[in-house]
């Protein structure tokens, strides 16, 4: 018995020692991988040495800098909602989420301490390098300036955000100087790309189309053409935007219905598909789900499944992106990007890398899949249908020479509305970037939002020249 007891004693004591070894490794590993994670609330507290790194765009334009301990923002209003500001009392945007990454802690992590034993060089604060491209950001900012709304551009294959503009904006330099109190300007502070939901209107017809294509319809499936559609048990009928028929007065195909944004067809389609199918399609497209985003995004929403199942009137209104449907421009851009990426949406990100001031990259963000929004075949048909919208439908104002643009307009009723929407994917000719534009109170998506998208797409096309 003494022999086995001895063995057990040795093994258990060794296991305790092993826990110590493991702890030593883990402290180093977690310190190097998670200490500056934006989700780690400790990144925003703690003791930091004076001085902070810069925020640079992908093309090297400095958008946040450090001068004598105060932050300065050379590009002013153009990057306000993305970069935010940092004062001794308050932080927002990237200045909050990457606060620790751009500073040197006075309490060192174990790996930093070990690494420094070799060379005792003075450490420099690190820079944050964005995926945003400055000429495109300026173009987006100029295109939306003077109006209330948002523009966001996303690279289809990676989810990298190339432009991110919200209007009205504010000058973060004045917040740092203390001449502007953020609490006095809630409207300008609001990030309309990720934190403002509006009814998406007819842009939501992309989701209803996907639901129909998913259960066997094709772009050539035909539907009765009607001036109005009254859902079973509904109080009021749904009419077309232009008060009339969508086609010849007899039948319209699905592709024609999307081209002219035919309300009666999509309202009827939603009711015939049923609340379950429409709700599932919306759920796949990330409605009702939290969207991971650097500076925080509010979730886009839709009525709860029970209401969609039991109330055909509500379902009909849902089919045209009204009722309880609410979406952020960020999500609508992701939906467009999924159409252009065989149905797969990539997780949006804006920090390309953390780098030393010498330019050496310390940590690079690798693209991640957010989820599959559409099946591959469905996405391909949606792309064809959306190309028809721009080539010969409500979205002709978004045509850009040299690019193939596939888009969808939206004109959404709502308080302060109607709101003008336009979402699209574009490329030469394969889809490369996705865009969402919203103009609050801008009325027609085709006449107001689509031309804004065209200006930004042109700027993108001209980037390489």
């Amino acid at each position: 018995m003494k022999q086995s007891l001895h063995r057990v004693a040795v093994v258990l004591t060794l296991l305790v020692a092993l826990s110590g070894v493991w702890l030593t490794w883990l402290a180093g590993d977690t310190a190097s991988r998670y200490r500056d994670d934006p989700r780690n609330l400790r990144t925003q507290t703690g003791d930091f040495a004076p001085g902070a790194g810069r925020v640079l765009t992908a093309d090297g334009v400095v958008v946040a800098d450090d001068a004598d301990g105060d932050r300065t923002y050379p590009e002013g209003v153009a990057y306000a909602h993305l970069v935010g500001y940092a004062t001794p009392d308050e932080r927002s945007g990237l200045e909050a989420s990457r606060y620790g990454a751009m500073r040197i802690r006075t309490t060192e992590s174990i790996t930093e301490w070990l690494l420094r034993l070799g060379s005792d060089q003075g450490r420099q604060p690190r820079d944050v390098v964005l995926t945003v491209v400055d000429p495109l950001q300026q173009a987006a900012r100029d295109a939306i300036a003077g109006q209330t709304g948002a523009v966001v551009v996303i690279e289809v294959a990676t989810g990298a955000v190339l432009a991110y503009a919200s209007s009205p904006s504010y000058d973060p330099n004045r917040v740092v100087a203390g001449t502007l109190d953020p609490e006095d300007i809630p409207d300008a502070m609001l990030d309309r790309v990720a934190r403002r939901v509006l009814p998406p209107g007819s842009t939501f017809k992309v989701i209803v189309s996907a639901a129909a294509l998913g259960v066997g319809a094709t772009q050539d499936s035909s539907f009765p053409d009607a001036e109005e559609y009254l859902a079973p048990g509904a109080g009021s009928a749904i009419r077309n935007a232009a008060d009339g028929f969508c086609g010849d007065g007899e039948t319209v195909t699905l592709i024609e219905a999307l081209q002219v944004s035919c309300n009666t067809v999509f309202a009827r389609l939603a009711v015939e598909l049923g609340g379950g199918v429409v709700g599932d399609a919306a759920h796949r497209a990330w409605f009702g789900r939290s969207l991971p985003w650097e500076t925080g995004a509010v979730p886009s929403t839709i009525s709860d499944p029970a209401l969609l199942r039991d109330d055909p009137g509500a379902l009909a209104q849902t089919g045209i992106g009204e009722r309880d449907v609410r979406a952020t421009p960020l999500l609508m851009a992701l939906i467009a990007s999924a159409v252009g990426n065989q149905g797969v949406a990539m997780q949006p990100f804006v920090v390309a890398a953390i780098a030393e001031q010498s330019g050496d990259v310390v940590e690079r963000t690798s693209p991640k899949v957010l989820g599959r929004m559409f099946d591959g075949a469905v996405a391909a048909e949606l792309l064809t249908m959306m190309e028809a919208v721009v080539s010969d439908g409500t979205g002709t104002a978004a045509r850009v020479e040299g690019l193939t643009v596939a888009g969808k307009t939206g004109t959404a009723e709502g308080s302060g509305g109607p709101h003008a929407w336009f979402i699209a994917v574009a490329g030469r000719p394969e889809p490369e970037i996705a865009i969402a534009v919203v103009v609050e109170g801008g009325s027609s998506g085709g006449r107001v939002a689509a031309p804004i998208a065209a200006r930004v797409l042109e700027a993108w096309r001209d980037l390489d020249e």
Partner: protein, 429 residues
């Protein structure tokens, strides 16, 4: 070690408890004078009382035990108070109560020694079963079960408008060790005979193993039913290791490992809360806002540790759910760093070594198995929770002995130490 050194070390740990408590009052709140005094007072009263009881009733007991336990308890008391001052104050009362019960244990065993426990072994087994079944009583009774975090492992005693909760699994562990030590001391030769074999695997006579196996399966089922993964694992592993120690047959270890592997797989497939834990263990950031949240927060806390930590009171350990119970070790590491974490592990390592030393020097099989079993409980429990929070193993919720907040845990561990001390007193001179 002289008696004076022992007393000095206990006094030193009380001073540590007071100094640490004073240090964290700045951030945790609490009274900068009263709370440290109360911490020192409770510590001195509890361990001083134990010390006096040992002098009187077990004068030849090992002098290494009490200083180690006292130090470990002091570290726990500081961190629990730091995370939640109210829990910290409550823990002081539990400490006093635990020491009181430890002293009573020493007094009871004073006349006839630990061997008197053998006479009541089936009573202890029955008692352990009773305790394990208590949480299944309807919640409506004055003494009834309660479900916390999906596990029905608590008993709530309702007295008027006050309720007192405790985890009977903690008490059952000591009773079961006493029973097993006594039972195995008698039967170990019979259990070691392996007349049957399947291929290279030798098996014992079924009628020898059956009773204890049955008893154990029943206890185990009750625990599974209550979804108390931590206590199930602890009891099962202690059972298997004690069987191996008593019989010197590796067959029991192999069979035990196979059962744990099989049972673990079955649990992952049949209990959603187990599957969630395994997923959180492997990929905490996959479901950051959901099942992975707690583990992710502990990863962030560890990332802050560094060599000497954020400093007592300067970290943010409250961000981890269950920081004062399951995750107390991570909280300590965050604030005192690698240095503090390794020191605490070293203290546990020493305590375990002392315990096994007592078992090895014991005069007969029962005493040896009793000391071994109690030490195995301490060791396995420490390894399960430290390994769990450090992600060496899937997390099974259980307390870190003497450190986590928890009345039932502190009480049963003080009895455990009293028993170990008594066995060491009965060593040949």
């Amino acid at each position: 070690m002289t008696r004076r050194t022992e007393a000095l070390l206990v006094a030193l740990s009380a001073a540590i408890a007071a100094a640490g408590t004073a240090l964290v009052t700045a951030t945790a709140g609490g009274d900068v004078v009263l709370d440290p005094l109360a911490a020192a007072g409770a510590h001195l009263a509890a361990f001083g009382g134990m010390l006096v009881a040992l002098r009187r009733w077990s004068p030849d007991a090992s002098r290494l035990l009490l200083p180690l336990v006292s130090l470990i308890t002091a570290i726990g008391a500081i961190e629990v108070f730091r995370i939640d001052p109210d829990l910290g104050r409550l823990q002081r009362w539990w400490l006093l109560l635990g020491a009181g019960i430890g002293i009573i244990t020493l007094r009871v065993l004073h006349n006839r020694g630990v061997t008197v426990l053998r006479r009541y072994r089936y009573l202890f087994l029955l008692g352990a079963f009773g305790l394990l079944l208590l949480p299944l009583l309807p919640s409506s009774l004055p003494l009834g079960g309660a479900t916390v975090n999906g596990s029905r492992l608590w008993v709530r005693l309702t007295m008027g408008d006050r309720t007192l909760s405790f985890q009977p699994g903690e008490g059952a562990k000591v009773l079961i060790v006493v029973f097993l030590a006594s039972y195995l001391a008698d039967r170990r030769r019979a259990l070691a005979v392996m007349p049957r074999s399947i291929g290279p695997v030798h098996l014992p006579e079924p009628r020898q193993v059956l009773p204890v196996l049955l008893a154990f399966t029943a206890a185990f089922l009750v625990l599974i039913y209550q979804r108390d993964l931590g206590a199930s694992m602890l009891l099962f592993m202690v059972f298997v290791v004690m069987l191996f120690v008593a019989t010197e047959r590796p067959t029991y270890l192999i069979a035990g490992a196979a059962l744990i592997a099989g049972g673990g797989l079955a649990a992952v497939n049949s209990f959603s809360h187990v599957a969630v834990r395994v997923e959180a263990w492997l990929h905490p950031f996959a479901d950051y806002a959901g099942g992975g949240y707690q583990v992710a927060q502990s990863v962030f806390a560890l990332s802050e540790a560094g060599l000497v930590g954020a400093g007592l009171g300067s970290g943010s350990p409250w961000l981890i759910p269950a920081a004062a119970t399951d995750y107390i070790f991570v909280a300590i590491v965050e604030e005192t760093g690698l240095a503090g974490g390794l020191a605490l592990l070293a203290a546990f390592g020493l305590l375990i070594t002392v315990g096994f030393g007592i078992a090895l020097r014991a005069t007969d099989a029962f005493r040896s198995l009793l000391a071994a079993g109690l030490t195995i409980v301490l060791a396995v429990q420490t390894l399960l929770i430290v390994g769990g929070v450090l992600r060496m193993l899937p997390l099974t919720g259980i307390t870190l002995p003497f450190v986590s907040y928890g009345g039932s845990s502190l009480l049963s561990n003080m009895i455990l130490i009293a028993l170990l001390a008594r066995v060491s007193h009965e060593e040949p001179a």
